[in-house]
């Protein structure tokens, strides 16, 4: 889960990483009453979880005379479709130099990957592509308690020594907070010292409970329903609903729909143990999407009982057509149950997908 900037910067602050003076507001009035703390110039930053806020007008320069008006406007905005509910107001920094520092997970080495460059404030992926030499990197096994001093020196190069402490503390944050990514972009030097001018922290979803974090995502009704039943569910833009078991098979079903020039409306992985109850909930959930014209159910498993699945589909009692591919135990019984109820059962996923694409043409 990606934390909001103000949540991430609070954690960075707790670890001794200097952050600019500031506070969170939900209304223009709150800003007005506290803006004295920020001096003669300050910055208003929309607290939304989407990237690229600055380019989308989510970061504004303000002063005491314009602040209230600007906050009001920002709170009425949507940034890339996400409504702005909170603003982080921070002091203006006299920036001398911008750096980039991050710690992420490297799938290839199975270690922490530390990145640093003295060309901060830019998109790191673009920079890495255009000037590969500009970004310094090092891998560190998570069994290490600290970043070895040589590695810090190598990464920082000629950058000021104060950044070493920030790097070490960022590694602490990364390790202790189960982060997938801890990033400061830009990390800046000013006449009064070093500051994390932005803060980004993505926490591993599988570690949220031990981190004491509850998910606060804005979910649609169907996404909430999916979460309740433990389905993996992603909404897409087509008209063919998809239910599969296992992420790979479900993705392959989506791909096959695209291969036959159809468009999937969703990805839904019911997970293991697809019984009558789970299948019924999954079918109802997908059918509740008004754009869904037809549903493909593609279930394959050694222990999946086809008769159970068939009953689940029928008991969902939906109006859309359902095209089913089932492989597992009691296949013949499952087929019999479905045939008797007017649903179509296909021999292969390929046939099922073709039939679904035909059905919406």
């Amino acid at each position: 889960m990606k934390l909001l900037e103000h949540e991430a910067r609070k954690i960075f602050g707790e670890y001794g990483i200097p952050v600019p003076k500031g506070f969170v507001i939900c209304s223009p009035g709150e800003l007005e009453s506290r803006m004295g703390e920020l001096g003669t110039r300050f910055v208003l930053k929309a607290q939304v979880e989407v990237g690229g806020r600055g380019k989308s007008g989510g970061i504004l320069m303000a002063d005491p005379s314009s602040g209230k008006q600007m906050a009001e406007e920002l709170l009425q905005k949507e940034i890339k479709g996400v409504p702005v509910r909170e603003i982080l107001a921070v002091e203006y920094l006299e920036i001398q130099q911008e750096y980039y520092m991050s710690i992420a997970i490297d799938r290839s080495t199975k270690q922490a990957l530390i990145l640093f460059t003295d060309q901060g404030g830019v998109d790191i992926e673009t920079l890495a592509k255009e000037q590969p030499g500009a970004v310094r990197k090092a891998s560190l096994p998570l069994l290490m308690r600290d970043i070895p001093p040589f590695m810090v020196r190598d990464l920082l190069g000629k950058a000021p020594k104060e950044l070493a402490k920030v790097m070490n503390q960022l590694y602490r944050v990364f390790c202790e907070r189960d982060a997938l990514l801890a990033e400061i972009n830009p990390l800046v030097t000013t006449p009064t010292g070093v500051f994390a001018a932005d803060a980004k922290l993505i926490i591993d979803d599988n570690a949220l409970s031990r981190q004491g974090i509850t998910l606060n995502r804005d979910l649609t009704e169907r996404e909430r329903e999916a979460e309740k039943h433990g389905f993996s569910y992603v909404e897409l833009e087509g008209d063919i609903g998809v239910i599969g078991n296992g992420a790979g098979l479900t993705m392959a079903t989506l791909d096959l729909i695209e291969y036959y020039d159809g468009k999937a409306a969703n990805f839904l992985d019911v997970g293991g143990g697809a019984d009558q109850e789970r299948v019924m909930h999954a079918v109802r959930l997908v059918a509740a999407d008004p754009t869904v014209q037809v549903i493909v159910v593609n279930l394959l498993g050694g222990i999946t009982r086809c008769d159970e699945v068939a009953r689940g589909i029928i008991s969902a009692g939906i109006s859309q057509q359902v095209i089913v591919r089932l492989a597992g135990t009691n296949e013949a019984e499952g087929r019999q149950i479905l045939d008797g109820s007017g649903y179509r059962m296909m021999e292969s996923m390929e046939q099922a997908v073709k039939a679904a694409v035909e059905a919406v043409k």
Binding site: M251, G301, S348
Partner: protein
């Protein structure tokens, strides 16, 4: 076969849970069929003295080792405890851990894999269906009735998609040497590269299917480093960026790891890539 054969003794950790008990029974049903050793002991701390599916349960792997000869373990413990179980197995001197468990915090996985490596123990998974060498051994949860013994190796980040492909290979008369589910998490122990190295040493294996998906670049890293004949299928060509497609590791992040660029890189290396699962048997026939 690779990683083990019918003489490999297996300890199941998390034996007394619903999943553990169910799959001990299935694994041993298979080992009886093929005349193998199978699961010799189960481990659940605090449950010593119990029996699960005819297998004795111990408090620790070390306790189980006093009575039984085993070199591998299969984990069915919950996510929060799985890192610990991997390290216990490695520390006890087992040479292989197959971690079926999903939802292990990724930092736990990284630490446990580093720890296991120090002890010379290989980790398959986590978040995987395990492996199956038809006619020899099953360590994990793969259905056995879809497979048959042969010369095609299969390496996959997925579960059910693997079964789909194995089924199609079998129907096409292409038996399998070993089918390895390496797991759907962002960080996994044995990667495509590691398993390919094993297949290179395996006389039974003549060609390998790589079943990849969006996220990371492990498929290309493996393909680049082997001279075995391989064919691939990559799931997720329709996956939107920055969305997790079921597996924790199946996500296109920062413009990296999308299916199209993965497929393009594989094709550039001369690896045939199937545009749908049903093409895999034909591609394998062509390279055999």
């Amino acid at each position: 076969m690779i990683y083990g054969d019918r003489n490999t003794g297996v300890i199941v950790t998390g034996a007394t849970g619903k999943q553990g008990a169910f799959h001990i029974a299935l694994m041993n049903e298979y080992s009886r069929q093929v005349g193998g050793k199978g699961v010799v002991a189960g481990v659940t701390p605090g449950k010593a003295g119990q029996e699960v599916a005819g297998v004795p349960v111990y408090n620790s792997i070390r306790d189980a080792q006093k009575e039984h000869d085993a070199s591998a373990s299969v984990l069915f413990v919950p996510g929060f405890a799985a890192g610990d179980s991997i390290m216990e197995a490695a520390s006890a001197g087992l040479s292989l851990v197959v971690a079926i468990t999903e939802h292990i915090p990724v930092h736990d996985t990284m630490r446990a894999i580093s720890f296991a490596r120090i002890h010379g123990c290989d980790v398959i998974g986590p978040n995987c269906p395990g492996l199956l060498s038809p006619g020899e051994i099953k360590m994990g949860i793969m259905p056995v009735h879809l497979s048959c013994r042969g010369h095609v190796g299969v390496i996959s980040r997925s579960g059910t998609l693997t079964y789909e492909i194995v089924d199609q290979l079998t129907r096409a008369g292409l038996g399998q040497s070993t089918v390895v589910g390496i797991g759907g998490d962002p960080v996994i122990g044995q990667t495509f590269l590691d398993v390919l190295r094993r297949f290179e040493e395996d006389e039974q294996t003549r060609a390998v299917v790589i079943l990849g998906e969006v996220g990371g670049s492990l498929e290309e890293e493996g393909a680049r480093a082997t001279d075995l004949p391989i064919a691939a299928y990559i799931a997720g060509i329709s996956a939107p960026p920055e969305k997790r497609m079921g597996h924790a590791g199946a996500i296109v992040e920062g413009g990296e790891g999308d299916a199209r660029s993965k497929i393009a890189r594989l094709k550039k290396m001369g690896v045939p890539v199937a545009s749908r699962p049903s093409e895999v048997p034909r591609l394998i026939r062509e390279i055999l």
